[in-house]
Each structure stands twice: as C-alpha cells, then as structure tokens.
C-alpha cells in the first residue's frame, strides 16, 4: 500500500513560530490526523538562578523571563513580595504600576494583532499595526527610560515618578489610540479574507476551555468571565470596576474561535485606555517607594519569614509567582513561576486534531504563546533512555566549551 500520510514537523525552527516549540503532525492530504506538541526547547533554569540571588536581583531577573510581558512577571513578583513582607506600596506608586501594566497590555495586544495577520499571510497589516504600536512604546520609553525591560518596579513601589509632561503625553496617546483602535476594528473585523481564515478556526467551546484550564483572553473568548483584575483586584484595579471582556457582551454569543479572540483583544485595548484615563484622573500625590533605601529593604527581607502568592493579569492571562522567604538570606528561598502560556498551550493538540495544515499557524498564534515563559524543567535522556543527572551534564558542557574555545582560539 502506498504511503498516504505525511509527517510534517513544525518547529523548533519554523516561519510560523517565533520561539522554539515543536508540533508534530501526521497529515492526510490537508487534514491533520495525529498531532503531538513537544515543549522544552527554551529552558534556562531561571528559577534556580533566582534562588541564588537577592530579591532585588531576582526581581530584575524575572523581568527577563518573557520578552514581551516585561512588566507582568515583576508585577506578580512585587505583589507576592509585598504580601510576604507585610508592606504596602504608596497609593501613587500603585497607580503608576497600573498605568504601566495597562500600557504594556496595549502594546502586547497590538503586537498580537500584527502577528496573527502575518500568520495568515497579511504582512501589510503587520506593518501597519506595528507602526501604530510605536506610539505606546515611545511613551513607555519616555516614562521608564527604555522601550522594553522597563526596570520600573521595586518591592514596595516604583522607581520613577510620573511627571507633568508624561501625563500630557499619556492623554495625547489615549486620544490617538481611541482613533487607531476604531480603525483597527474596521479593518480586522470587516475584512472578508480575515474572517474566512479565522471564523471557526481554533474553536474552543466553554466546556472544553474549562476542561483544558485555559486562562486570559483565550478563556474569555470562549465565554468564561475570568480576569484577575476582576476576581482578585490589586493596586489601582481595586478602586475601579474592571469587568472581563467576553464576546457575548459584544455580539451576543461566544464561539471561542480565532475571530472572537481578535474581538476580545481589540476591546481590551479600549478597556485599558479607560483604565489609564481613570488612573490619570485620580492619580494621588505622595511618595513612590515604601522603603526608599534598597539596603534597608534587603535587610528587611533577610529578617522576614513567610510565603505568598502574587498574581497579575498579564496580556496573555494570569501569571502567578509563588515566593518563600526563610529568614536566612536576602532573596527568595523558593521561587515558582506559572506563566499563562503553560495552560494555554494545552489547547493546541485538541484544536489541531482534524484541522487543516493551513490552520496550524492560526492555532499556534491565537493564544499568543510565549515559549520562554513556559519551560521550568528540562529532562535530558541519552539514546538508551537513561536520565542524565546535573553533574554529568555540567561536566559535559564544560568539556564542550573548553574544546570550542581551543578550536576558535577564544581569549579568556
């Protein structure tokens, strides 16, 4: 019998993927009949590194967990740390933190809109949306000093204050984005080809979403009203009424497909604009750091014994940091990170089964995956299936580095 199925490897390096992960698909013509998702290509041992450093260093390490949510992980970290330490950030700092987090949500969602357009071959829209995204990045650069990796948060407050000029620029930006989002809605939601490519693709029912435990916009597109900002409000979110954006509120029914998730993300940009406007209107005066001296802060951490969980609604879903201070060192004794993509990637395999090859990029992109947030453990086996332990791998790595250095003549 002739071979009727092809084996298509998508990843770890593939144009549809921006980060390494592997989707192995058996296809029959265009239909996918068997699928397997393999993760673990981006493990960096970042939690282990964090447990060797002091809390301030770990905070900035956590900013490097994800390339795009560079404020989501620190946010969860500072909330957890503040709970464990029993301190509270000054009100002004809380509002500034919320503003920065919402600015990040705007830029992340616009980034996603560009990526999904690129995945279905609509590169001109990618260029257009990212052109519009420059504005929020400029604002972030002006406020924090960098386009990404803002280095803005500190346990017990923020490091930089909002100036009058920043507030004026923020108000300009809000006007600009109301118009731009309106335009984006028209272009994305009315485009016939966009609709043809996303309607019914990656369709996740409410039951399925609950079973797979998806979070963030993926769950909201399926009609589940969940949002950390609404369920366990923190910082300035507690002062306002944040409601989860679900498609049934917008068009009446939730189908949970890639078209619905586009809608949810577009409306969340507007929600973020509202939140920023609220924060600017009600921005309290006062200091911005609970403990301005970092050495005093580290000393306090060293004397603290306690554990806490910090949760934040990142653009992709809830991010959770578990922290434990044991009172002997000035950093976390245990640090555990749960990123939203970890839950959301679970939805790939059931969604891809029975779909077409052409749907792979859409399914892969619709949750806005972040592979480098995911990998927490790496297990290495040799060819016979024996587990290799840490010391052996380290020895091998050192040997390889020395060999390469010798070959290349690297100066040490």
């Amino acid at each position: 019998m002739a071979k009727t199925t092809y084996y298509i490897p998508v990843g770890p390096i593939h144009p549809a993927l921006k980060e390494p992960i592997r989707v192995e698909a058996e296809v029959e013509g265009e239909k996918i009949v068997k699928v397997d998702v393999k993760r673990g290509f981006a493990h960096r041992g970042i939690e282990y590194m964090g447990m060797k450093r002091n809390a301030i260093q770990t905070l900035y390490l956590s900013e490097r967990i994800c390339g795009i949510c560079s404020i989501s992980h620190p946010y969860a970290f500072v909330i957890g740390s503040e709970k464990a330490l029993g301190i509270e950030a000054p009100p002004r700092a809380q509002y500034i933190r919320t503003i920065i987090a919402e600015l990040e949500r705007i830029h992340s969602h616009i980034l996603w809109l560009g990526v999904i357009a690129h995945e279905i071959g609509f590169d001109p829209l990618l260029f257009w949306t990212w052109k519009g995204r420059e504005k929020v990045l400029d604002i972030l650069e002006a406020i924090t000093g960098n386009r990404i990796n803002y280095a803005m948060y500190m346990i017990g407050g923020v490091r930089r204050d909002l100036k009058e000029s920043h507030i004026k620029a923020l108000r300009d930006m809000i006007t600009y984005y109301w118009e731009f989002t309106e335009h984006m809605k028209e272009v994305f939601l009315s485009d016939p080809v966009y609709k043809a490519r996303t309607r019914g693709v990656a369709q996740l029912s409410k039951e399925m979403a609950l079973k797979l435990n998806v979070v963030g916009p993926t769950a909201r597109a399926a009609g589940i009203r969940m949002d950390v900002r609404q369920d366990i409000p923190y910082d300035a979110y507690a002062d306002m009424d944040v409601k989860a954006i679900v498609p049934q509120d917008i068009v009446g029914e939730a189908r949970g497909d890639a078209y619905d998730i586009t809608m949810v993300r577009l409306y969340e940009i507007e929600q973020s604009l509202d939140i920023i406007e609220f924060c600017l209107d009600n921005l309290p005066e006062g200091k911005i750091l609970a403990i301005p001296n970092y050495v005093a802060l580290l000393n306090k951490i060293k004397k603290t014994e306690g554990e806490a969980i910090g949760a934040h609604e990142a653009p992709r879903g809830e991010v959770i940091h578990y922290l434990k201070y044991d009172g002997t060192r000035d950093g976390p004794a245990v640090w555990k990170v749960i990123a939203p993509s970890y839950n959301n990637i679970n939805s790939w395999a059931p969604l891809l089964l029975g779909a077409e090859v052409a749907d792979i990029p859409v399914v892969v992109a619709y949750i806005d995956p972040c592979m480098c947030c995911n990998d927490r453990v790496a297990v290495v086996e040799d060819s016979s299936g024996r587990l290799l332990d840490y010391s052996y791998l380290h020895k091998k790595a050192v040997e390889k580095t020395r060999k390469l250095e010798k070959e290349l003549g690297v100066r040490r």
Binding site: H14, I120, G121, W128, V193, E356, A358
Partner: protein
C-alpha cells in the same frame, strides 16, 4: 535560419528577463510604499538573481536528482518560449503563426507543473504538501482561464493572438457583448494572482504554513531559474491581459500620425506603461491588501464564483455573436 530568427532567439529572452526583473523591482517598491516602508532599490531583483547564481546548489539527499535539477530549466525554458508568443504593442510576436492562445495557456500551465513536479521530487514533506496544493489550485484556476480564452475565440472566430491584437475587442462587440467581455475581465483579474502564485493565492508557497512549500529545498542556480521564470511569467501574464483587454494604441486613441522608428518607440513605451499600470493594480495592490486563502476556500472561489462569472460572460458574448 535568417538573421531575424537569431535576433529574436537571443534578443527576446534578454529583453524579457530584463523587463520581468524591472517590473518585479517596481512591484516590490510600490508594495513597500503601500505599507509605509521605503522598500528595496528597483535594481534589487538583479542583485538577488546575481547572488543566487553565486551560491551553491544543494540537492537534498532523498530527492530524485535529475528531475529535481531538470524542473527549473523546464520552467525557465517555457517562460522564455511564452515571451515569443506575445505581441508587444504593435510589434508582432516572433512566433506568430506557429501557435495561438491555447499554446500560451499550456505554456503557463507548464511552469506551474514544473514547479509542482520539482516539489514532489525534492522529497521534503513541506514541498510535497506544497506541490499537492499547487495541483489542486491549478485544476481550479485553469477552468475559468480556459473559459475566458473560449470567449475571445467566439468573438474573433480565431484563437490567434495577432488577430485579437490587431482590433480592440471593445470596438467589435455590442453592448451585450461588451458586458460579457467585462465579466471575462473580472474573471481574468481573479485568475491572475493565482496564475502568478501571488497573495491571496500563494497557497502553494505559504511561508508561515509550509515554509515556501515547493521551493523549500531549492537553492542556488535552481532557485535563480525559478525566480527568473516567475519574473518573466509575471510580465508575460500582464502583457497578455493588456493585449486581450486594453489593446488601444496611441494612434488609435489620439490619432497620432507617427511613422518609422518614432512610431515603434512611442507605441512600445505606451505598451510598457499600460503593463506597468495594470501590474500595480492587478498584482501589487491585490497582493498587498489580501490575506492568504485556505486551499479549499480558493478552490471553491474558482470552481463556483469565478466560473459562474466567466460562463455568464461567454453566454452573453455567445448570445450576441449568434
């Protein structure tokens, strides 16, 4: 062999490749400007071809070597032959009298077929899926294309392109036939991006889905030949469209009384200008403002909607001619 034949045999491919690459450069530049970018210089396609020719040609281990290497040459040869059948403005086609519209249809098909066979022969799953898609797509868009050509044969009672080029189609049809020709034009505009493997119908080469599909394994000289045949095919296809639907010459429009070399130069430039405008409208603008369809959606579009449009056009023409 007369000196004229030798001139055509050597001159036409050079001119064709040159024009094809220049149009490709303009296309990339305009597309970049539409997306708020600066874009590459117009000579960029020439640099690309030059670079590809310098690079090593890699043949995959489990490819069928001779088919894999022969298909780019076949595609290039057929695109070169295609050029010899297309009348440039008032210049007559070099191979006039040796073939007609049906030959053009087959030569265009041959290139797509060569790419598909090359894809199958390269032994990579991405190429195989791409080649399958190309076959399905080809079966879909050839039908409306053939209907359009039949419509023209009905009007002129001939398949010869020179006959068609000599008299503008709009001047010999009545109002009913005119409407039919308009419908044919719409069908033809749909076929164009599919025939040239451009968005929204570049399904066989979908970058984010199957990593350039049929061309995934091609490199070096082989890829350069495919690149060149693609450039020439783009120019030839649009030139064909101009000959069929917009054959108005300068002297016909403005009643100019030129003769000799001046006439040929003016008409040649006018023809190239018409091709440029149509290229930007039918290829650049379309490929910039659409996303890629799925293969079964593209199939449905051609088999149902475009076919209906084309058939309606032919029926209208038939009603008038009979």
């Amino acid at each position: 062999m007369t000196p004229e034949t030798i001139f055509y045999a050597i001159g036409m491919p050079i001119i064709g490749v040159l024009l094809g690459l220049v149009y490709k450069g303009i296309d990339r530049r305009v597309s970049a400007r539409m997306t708020s970018r600066i874009g590459p210089p117009i000579r960029q396609p020439f640099w690309d071809v030059g670079k590809l020719l310098l690079k090593e040609t890699v043949v995959p281990e489990n490819a069928v070597r001779w088919i894999f290497n022969a298909m780019p040459i076949l595609a290039f040869a057929s695109s070169m032959t295609l050029l010899l059948y297309i009348p440039f403005g008032i210049l007559r086609a070099p191979l006039e009298g040796y073939g007609d519209l049906v030959v053009i249809l087959y030569l265009l098909t041959l290139q797509a077929l060569a790419m598909a066979i090359g894809g199958f022969a390269s032994g990579s799953p991405f190429s195989s899926v791409g080649a399958q898609r190309e076959m399905v797509l080809m079966m879909s868009y050839e039908m409306p294309f053939a209907i359009v050509i039949t419509g023209f044969a009905l009007i002129y009672k001939s398949f010869s392109l020179s006959t068609i080029a000599s008299t503008p189609v709009w001047s010999i049809v009545g109002p009913l036939g005119g409407l039919g020709v308009l419908l044919l034009l719409i069908a033809f505009l749909w076929v164009t991006p599919a025939e040239l493997a451009k968005l929204p119908f570049d399904i066989a080469e979908a970058e984010t889905e199957i990593a350039e599909g049929m061309l995934a394994e091609y490199s070096g000289r082989n890829l350069a030949l495919f690149y060149l045949s693609d450039a020439v095919r783009g120019f030839a296809m649009i030139a064909l469209e101009v000959v069929l639907f917009f054959p108005f010459t300068l002297s016909y429009l403005f009643g100019l009384n030129l003769s000799g070399a001046a006439l040929y130069i003016a008409e040649g430039l006018w023809f190239l200008f018409k091709v440029l405008v149509l290229y930007i409208l039918a290829v650049t603008l379309v490929r910039t403002s659409f996303a890629r369809f799925r293969i079964e959606q593209a199939s449905r579009i051609f088999w149902v909607y475009v076919n209906i449009i084309a058939l309606l056009g032919v029926i209208l023409i038939w009603a008038e001619v009979m």
